[in-house]
């Protein structure tokens, strides 16, 4: 297999145009990195909640505080965006939604559905 090394490759974020599908795609990355960064905090909370009744109560209180609720909403948004964008990605792997306009419509769907789903879950939790 030969690679054309002359093709223009640039990942300079200031030079790349950002149509809807690109926003959904960069959102997939940002949400993933965010969740990776939140992992130690999540394990810490799990650890504390299982340390005893006091720790359990403290985690519950923290999650119901203003800061905890904000963090929870942002993480739910990241999670929902990542999940929907991931499903879209697998659909594209399976050759579904590769062409315009479906390609752009599904990107818009991901961008719009993620905060809505996060809001609903946030209300239910």
């Amino acid at each position: 297999m030969t690679t054309n090394t002359k093709r223009p490759i640039h990942l300079d974020l200031r030079r790349i145009r950002f149509p809807l599908n690109a926003i959904a795609s960069i959102g997939h990355r940002i949400s993933g990195v965010l969740m990776a960064l939140a992992t130690p905090a999540a394990i810490y909370l799990l650890d504390m909640s299982l340390s005893g009744p006091d720790g359990f109560g403290a985690v519950k209180e923290l999650l119901h505080s203003g800061l905890g609720q904000l963090g929870l909403f942002l993480l739910l948004w990241a999670m929902m965006h990542h999940l929907f964008a991931g499903i879209r990605c697998i659909a594209i792997d399976l050759d579904w939604g590769v062409e315009k306009p479906v390609f752009v419509q599904t990107a818009l769907g991901v961008l719009a559905a993620a905060p809505l789903a996060a809001l609903v879950l946030w209300g239910l939790l």
Binding site: M1, L11, R29, G32, V33, M35, A36, T39, P40, I43, L46, D47, S49, L50, G52, P53, G55, F56, G57, M79, L83, G86, I87, I90, D93, L121, L124, L125
Partner: protein, 114 residues
């Protein structure tokens, strides 16, 4: 293992397999916390200590480590070009993820013997 032809295929496959488990388990977790959130510490601990749940949680952590490794590695390789910095960050990522995995394993196992 990798010929140039198949380079990246393993990461690609692992990313999708781990994604499917993570997605399904996350939906299960959310449903559980919405339908019957743990009311007391004992209820919460017993839920985690249930052998099926412990196993599912450990699988979840394992999938998360693989998924985060492939994903964050891709992001680092795309945006961090100086070789030394890239290698340093990749090493820190790998060590950090292993540490989180051990920590998670410990938390679940301790809940089982408590």
């Amino acid at each position: 293992m990798s010929t140039r032809r198949a380079a990246g295929l393993r990461a690609w496959t692992l990313q999708r397999i781990s994604a499917i488990y993570l997605g399904l388990f996350f939906i299960y977790l959310l449903s559980h916390f919405i339908i019957s959130p743990p009311a007391s510490f004992d209820e919460w601990r017993l839920w985690v200590a249930d052998p099926r749940m412990s196993m599912a949680l450990l699988l979840f952590f394992f999938s998360l480590l693989i998924h985060a490794w492939v994903g964050v590695r891709n992001v680092l390789i795309d945006y961090i070009h100086p070789f030394g910095l890239r290698m340093t960050l990749l090493t820190l990522l790998g060590l950090g993820l292993i540490a989180f995995g051990v920590w998670g394993l410990q938390v679940v196992m301790l809940a089982r013997i408590a």
